[in-house]
């Protein structure tokens, strides 16, 4: 019993799920569900379909190369059973998983690095530019002009005094 990868979206196909299609040139396509199967029949390229792993890897959304991926490789020659080796392998699988998920997190964080700063800048810009939707420019100007008037008077009195 093996867990396979869906050809279209690269998710795992558990036993009892999905469809396998064998082409005339003996290439086997496995699909995890009818969504992927139907997309395949429509001849869609998984590299262009946003929700697939192929797209995400290609466009750098998920990490592509890592040492943790080297651990999982399909081996064609079976090893002689060794209990200790199996125990170690089982434990290793868990740690490798942890390591991999941690690394994926850091990758994601790196990708999202400048996001907060960018968002804040954009928010500030939008606020400044679109404030006229809430408060009419006339209203805003009036306030400032009133302030200006008072200042002017003061200055004039100052200047008069100065002249005098």
């Amino acid at each position: 019993m093996r867990l396979e990868k869906c050809w279209f979206c690269s998710s795992t196909v558990y036993p009892g799920h999905g469809i396998q299609f064998v082409r005339n040139d003996a290439k086997i396509f496995r699909f995890c569900r009818s969504k992927c199967h139907k997309n395949f029949k429509m001849k869609r390229n998984p590299r262009k379909v946003k929700w697939t792993k192929a797209y995400r890897r290609l466009h750098g959304k998920d990490m592509t190369q890592d040492a943790t991926f080297e651990f999982e490789r399909k081996r064609n020659r079976p090893e002689r059973y060794d209990r200790n080796l199996t125990e170690n392998t089982l434990k290793a699988i868990k740690t490798i998983d942890k390591v991999r998920s941690r690394r994926e997190e850091t990758h994601h964080k790196n990708r999202m690095k400048g996001k907060v700063a960018k968002e804040r800048k954009e928010a500030r810009k939008e606020h400044d530019q679109q404030l006229h939707m809430l408060i009419a420019p006339g209203a805003m100007v009036k306030d400032t002009s009133a302030a200006k008037v008072t200042v002017k008077v003061q200055h004039e009195s100052d200047e008069n005094r100065m002249e005098e």
């Binding site: 019993m1 093996r2 867990l3 795992t12 040492a67 943790t68 651990f71 999982e72 490789r73 399909k74 081996r75 079976p78 090893e79 002689r80 059973y81 060794d82 209990r83 080796l85 199996t86 170690n88 392998t89 089982l90 290793a92 699988i93 868990k94 740690t95 490798i96 998983d97 390591v99 941690r102 690394r103 850091t106 690095k113 907060v116 700063a117 804040r120 800048k121 928010a123 500030r124 939008e126 606020h127 679109q130 404030l131 939707m133 809430l134 408060i135 009419a136 006339g138 209203a139 805003m140």
Partner: protein
């Protein structure tokens, strides 16, 4: 020599079917249309053709029947006798003879009628002649109907006869009923013969095949024979007698020494002596069966004597063969089919004897001389007189001895399975013979899947080492990458955030409205503002919106109001002189007055009663006026031109008259 082609005999149709087949053929495959206006020759030819065609068809079909059925004299005497035993040669020949005569009769009929047809002078006469001819042929065929049925029965039975090759190596099993012949054949071959406690379970010959020394042997199981005079035997017994008589085979005479078949040894030996003439020139072995119930040593003295007599008879045949006198044990064997001891020995002995006999015969015949030149046994020429015997190292001899001992005591998986409860209960441990570093691991179940991964993909002898490296790497990475991003850009104040949220809400509202407008713009008629039903565009609303923006709306409202056309304004065009009004009045004067407005000027006011109109009093007039205005008002709101505008663009809109409801009934629409 057609031995096996009994299966290929074509089906014999019944009399009626036969007639149907031939006549329908005639109708289909000859021209069907003829008129009395045709030339007489043409008419004659037409009918002659039909008659001849029918005759040839009958002839053809009857000939195939006659040829398909084997001639009893031409086939192997074993089959000839067998068929005679089963079907009676005379009846068989009679039936075929009848068919032959029918064929000839039909030929004659056709000939006669064709001759008559040559001189037929009208369509009617030719037709009558043809009808008569065909009718007579059909009657002939119907008369042989019973023969045809009989032949078909024979054909079906013949097809089911066992395919026995009379010339190859054969072993024949005979004896009283219920002695264990069918069980024996079940044991040594793959045949599945019925074994039951009643006599004459086996009613016909059965064939099985077995191998010995790379050669295939036919084993024929016969029905039991009773000790009776030859003439009294029934068909079933005759089958076995025929087989015994004609097949050159090794004969295994079965003896039931326990007597559980219902017949004593005396009876059985009497039978033996009565049919021993049939054992001439055949390697004979007497087999004592059912030794699990009664061993050979334990029978009574008289029985022992009888058995000895039989053995001596059998020996005679052996010596009569002319071979070297072997031990007498070869002629008398014991076995038990139930416990399977001695079964293989019997088979081997029979096969061996038969083989020897056949080889001898071949050597004596002339044919062998032709092949003998092809045989040549090469013997190396001795270069000196030194004796060089076979040299087997001691170790090998010991090993062989051990192996022989171990073989007997070797326990098979099959025995183990039987011990532990049989096939359904016990399942063999396939991992028993695994070669592992530690034998305790043999029955381990290794998980194949863990956490969505295939475990086999991760198995690697250096996995620990690689894991260490990975962890080291990971440790380094963790130390390095913990820098926090300093926020160069400051966040907005809460007030500003609130404002931003409102801005976004308003924007989304605008976008939504625009989308709705966009989608319905073409289908919505542009209703002029004066029929604005929802009263969305009032000056109060404008005022409210402006004040929400922070502006003082009063000036704007006044301006808007002054610009709009109202009756009051019209009337008091020379009235108040505000600065704004003056401006607006100028504009108004510049505009030309509509017809309605000019009319409204020249009309007297509504509450004044005019005598010719028919109102009782001014109150009634006002009421009438109001009623009229209400209806006009409503119509105007619906953008209708007037009373007569009753166009309904879509009388039965689909969405009101069709569709299922997700909940509820659609009995009312």
């Amino acid at each position: 020599m057609v031995q096996y082609n009994f299966k290929k005999i074509t089906k014999v149709p019944t009399g009626k079917d036969f007639v149907d087949i031939v006549l329908s053929r005639t109708q289909r495959q000859t021209p069907t249309v003829v008129h009395k206006g045709y030339a007489i020759n043409r008419i004659r030819q037409f009918y002659m053709r039909k008659v001849k065609f029918t005759q040839t068809n009958f002839h053809e079909k009857l000939s195939t029947i006659i040829e398909d059925f084997p001639r009893l004299d031409d086939i192997h005497p074993f089959y000839g006798d067998l068929l005679h035993v089963l079907y009676n040669k005379d009846h068989y020949k009679l039936a075929l003879g009848q068919i032959n005569t029918a064929r000839n009769l039909i030929g004659k009929i056709a000939k006669d009628y064709v001759k008559l047809l040559k001189y037929g002078d009208s369509l009617y006469r030719c037709k009558a002649l043809k009808v008569a001819a065909l009718g007579r042929m059909c009657t002939v065929t119907k008369r042989i109907g019973p023969s045809l049925a009989y032949l078909d029965q024979i054909r079906q039975h013949m097809a089911r006869l066992p395919s026995i090759d009379p010339n190859t190596r054969t072993i024949l099993i005979c004896g009283y009923p219920n002695v264990g012949k069918s069980s024996f054949i079940n044991k040594i071959t793959r045949a599945d013969v019925d074994v039951q406690p009643y006599a004459f379970t086996t009613k016909s010959l059965f064939v099985g095949h077995t191998d010995y020394k790379y050669l295939r042997y036919q084993v024929i199981d016969t029905p039991g024979i009773l000790d009776r005079p030859f003439e009294d035997r029934n068909i079933i017994e005759m089958c076995s007698i025929t087989a015994l008589a004609h097949l050159r085979a090794a004969v295994l005479f079965f003896l039931d020494i326990s007597g559980s078949c219902g017949y004593t040894i005396a009876q059985q030996s009497a039978l033996f002596h009565s049919i021993k003439s049939l054992f001439m020139n055949k390697p004979l072995i007497i087999v004592c069966n059912k030794t699990d119930l009664q061993s050979l040593a334990g029978i009574s003295e008289d029985d022992k004597k009888l058995v000895e007599e039989m053995r001596s008879e059998a020996l005679k045949t052996l010596i009569g063969q002319g071979g070297e006198p072997r031990e007498g044990a070869e002629v008398l064997l014991t076995m038990s089919t139930l416990t399977e001891e001695g079964v293989i020995a019997v088979k081997n002995a029979a096969c061996e004897r038969l083989l020897d006999q056949r080889v001898e015969i071949k050597m004596k015949s002339k044919k062998i001389n032709e092949c003998l030149n092809r045989f040549h046994v090469a013997v190396p020429k001795p270069r000196d007189q030194k004796e060089r015997p076979v040299c087997i190292p001691q170790a090998v001899l010991e090993a062989k001895a051990k192996e022989a001992a171990a073989k007997e005591s070797k326990k098979l998986e099959r025995d183990l399975e039987e011990e532990n409860g049989g096939a359904g209960v016990y399942s063999a441990s396939l991992k028993k013979h695994y070669l592992l570093a530690d034998d305790e691991w043999k029955e381990d179940n290794m998980p194949e899947i863990l956490d969505g991964h295939n475990v086999y993909d991760f198995v690697d002898p250096d996995i620990l080492q690689r894991l260490e490296e990975l962890e080291k790497e990971e440790g380094l990475l963790q130390e390095v990458g913990e820098e926090d991003e300093e926020m160069d850009v400051e966040d907005l104040t809460p007030q500003q955030q609130k404002e931003l949220a409102e801005i976004r809400k308003k924007k989304s509202l605008l976008i939504r409205e625009h989308r709705i407008k966009k989608s319905t713009a073409e289908s919505r008629p542009i209703v002029p503002r004066k029929f604005d039903k929802d009263k969305r565009f009032t000056s109060e609303r404008m005022g409210r919106q402006l004040s929400s923006l922070g502006l003082d709306p009063s000036k704007a409202i006044e301006r808007a109001r002054s610009k709009s056309r109202g009756r009051k304004r019209e009337r008091s065009s020379n009235g108040d002189m505000d600065v704004d009004d003056g401006g607006s009045n100028k504009k108004m004067r510049a505009r030309s007055l509509s017809m309605a407005e000019s009319r409204s000027r020249s009309r007297p006011p509504t509450n004044v009663l005019v005598p010719g109109e028919g109102y009782k009093d001014s109150a009634q007039k006002i009421k009438a006026y109001k009623l009229g205005r209400n209806s006009v008002f409503k119509r105007n709101k619906d953008a209708k031109k007037g009373e007569g505008d009753r166009v309904i663009p879509n009388l039965k809109p689909k969405h009101l008259y069709s569709g299922k409801r997700s909940n509820g009934k659609t009995t009312r629409r």
